[in-house]
Symmetry: C2
């Protein structure tokens, strides 16, 4: 079971390999909401998302033999790029299985960071099976994107960064997909400062963690459909679910329209390109999903990997809606 | 005449009012060019541009009587927002004259920061005359966007920030408009580390500083037409011209197409929204305008204030050109 000392250990190991992503004060969001709002811009992290810290900690936790053989995983997005980058840092072979409908940009970026990409299948079951098969046939270590203590500890370093930079933080908003990210962040923060509120944010259209918490057991949804592709999980991970139950104060839900508006707001006012999954926290803050005033608030922007043509569509919609 | 100690003094005064804009390492640009490229993201500064430091230092240099009366200036863009923000910090009345064709977004942002906006005239002569007239009739201090030692010293603090954060810098690329910005940056850096090369970047279509340096005297162009609206000056300022002659190693020119491509690159890969004027430095680096290899390079991104509809047009052009 991952604990606070694992996160401290990860922090001391991975920090030197990452960009600093210092908090950005947003005067406009602060005025709009009557709080002091700071953005944690993980979109500015190398590879364009928070996942790098977790991936590096996973690589550094492998045995010598595992490193020699290499690793295999599956991902349509940020995890692929983070694993590709981290494995190259340590000269470890990496194979990433990506579905046939994965974006060309993300496939190319993953190759660009030095991974071998296998394009296979159409859904998450297909790619997981394929990655497992490659793991067995080639002796590569399979890396799970959720069920891995080293991963959760690596993600937790972002919680420590927030505490170190802004010890007077009162509320942290964090996106929720499979739950590994918020698990690490919440564990890191609550063990040190239990009075800080941790609010998870899920899309209404991909609310498996919210449902699971309500029912006190893991719920699997049949169908998820959200522009926040990084959060489009049918069910939370097991380890993350336990940690979220223990450490997260509340999960709130945002609509697709709220996500788009937040994305455009962040681009126009904060000058940050944030992917839909990364914009859910600001969506929740703008829509005042929990009623807070005069609080010191951190909104984690988890990543910025979005295809230009999708971005253009969001911008056009928003420009039209402003004009009407 | 502004000197190094003015910049040190400005640094100690203005820093606490600004966001930190730490250097962002760009692995992709570094690989593309065979150098180590760091971005100085002044687009993430409060008000969306580098001009805030200069504006704050100007406000803090006013006499008590000047502060009581207030200030007036003219600007179509970043200077307007910086003065509006800085004057509110110190409870100073500010009046900004903006031309009739100024963007609605920028007028609204300037009002939002608390300035009184006077919309008047169609060109720079109109707005300067109007601002001067208001200065005379209402007893407000006129703030020049170029010919002001406190302003240049304030801008110079960004040079100090670069030196402090990355003392091994070998080359700095900085945008050139009226020249006040690069003057301050170059003075700050060269007085401390004369071996660091300072490269100014101008649009080919607005190359007044480049021409003036060639002819060893200030040249006024009849016509400038560039998407880099913040650099669309017909002639350099007098004080800046002298400082650029003394401290800047070289001015290079970039085309409109190079600017657009750099803007889209910065958005897609660095996740930063940068306005055309702010993207000229990366345009020069990508186009290899000076021949450098294995250097430690800083590219200043001066600002990120761009209207969404213009951004959409650039993105659509770029998507089309990739597909063709």
């Amino acid at each position: 079971m991952v604990n606070y000392s694992d996160i401290l250990a990860a922090y001391s190991k991975v920090t030197k390999f990452k960009n600093s992503t210092l908090l950005q004060y947003s005067r406009t969001l602060s005025r709009m909401t009557g709080n002091q709002i700071y953005l944690k811009p993980e979109n500015l992290q190398l590879t364009g998302s928070f996942k790098l810290g977790g991936a590096i900690n996973v690589m550094m936790s492998l045995t010598e033999k595992q490193r020699e053989k290499g690793v295999v995983t599956c991902s349509a997005g940020n995890w692929a790029q983070a694993v590709a980058y981290a494995s190259r840092l340590f000269n470890i072979r990496s194979v990433i299985v990506m579905a046939e409908n994965a974006s060309r940009t993300k496939i190319n970026a993953t190759k660009g960071y030095g991974a071998e990409v296998v394009v296979y299948g159409r859904n998450s079951n297909d790619v997981v099976s394929k990655a497992m098969a490659i793991s067995n046939s080639e002796g590569l270590t399979y890396l799970s994107p959720f069920e891995d203590d080293a991963l959760i500890a690596g993600h937790g370093t972002i919680g420590l960064e927030i505490l170190k930079e802004k010890p007077d933080t009162e509320v942290v908003f964090c996106p929720v997909g499979g739950g590994a990210f918020i698990s690490g962040v919440a564990l890191a923060i609550k063990e040190k400062s239990p009075e800080i509120k941790i609010i998870g944010v899920e899309p209404e259209n991909a609310n498996a963690m919210w449902l699971s918490l309500k029912q006190n057991s893991i719920v699997e949804k049949e169908h998820v459909d959200t522009i926040a592709d990084g959060l489009a999980l049918k069910k939370p991970g097991k380890k993350p679910f336990g940690l979220v139950q223990k450490y997260v104060d509340e999960i709130v839900l945002v609509t697709e329209d709220e996500i788009k508006k937040a994305l455009v707001f962040l681009l126009e006012r904060a000058k940050l390109l944030v992917e839909p999954s990364g914009a859910v926290t600001v969506a929740a803050i703008i829509a005042n999903k929990i009623n807070i005033k005069n609080k010191e608030v951190v909104a984690i922007l988890s990543g910025g990997n979005i295809d230009l043509d999708k971005l253009v569509n969001f911008l056009k919609e928003e420009i039209t809606s402003i004009k009407n």
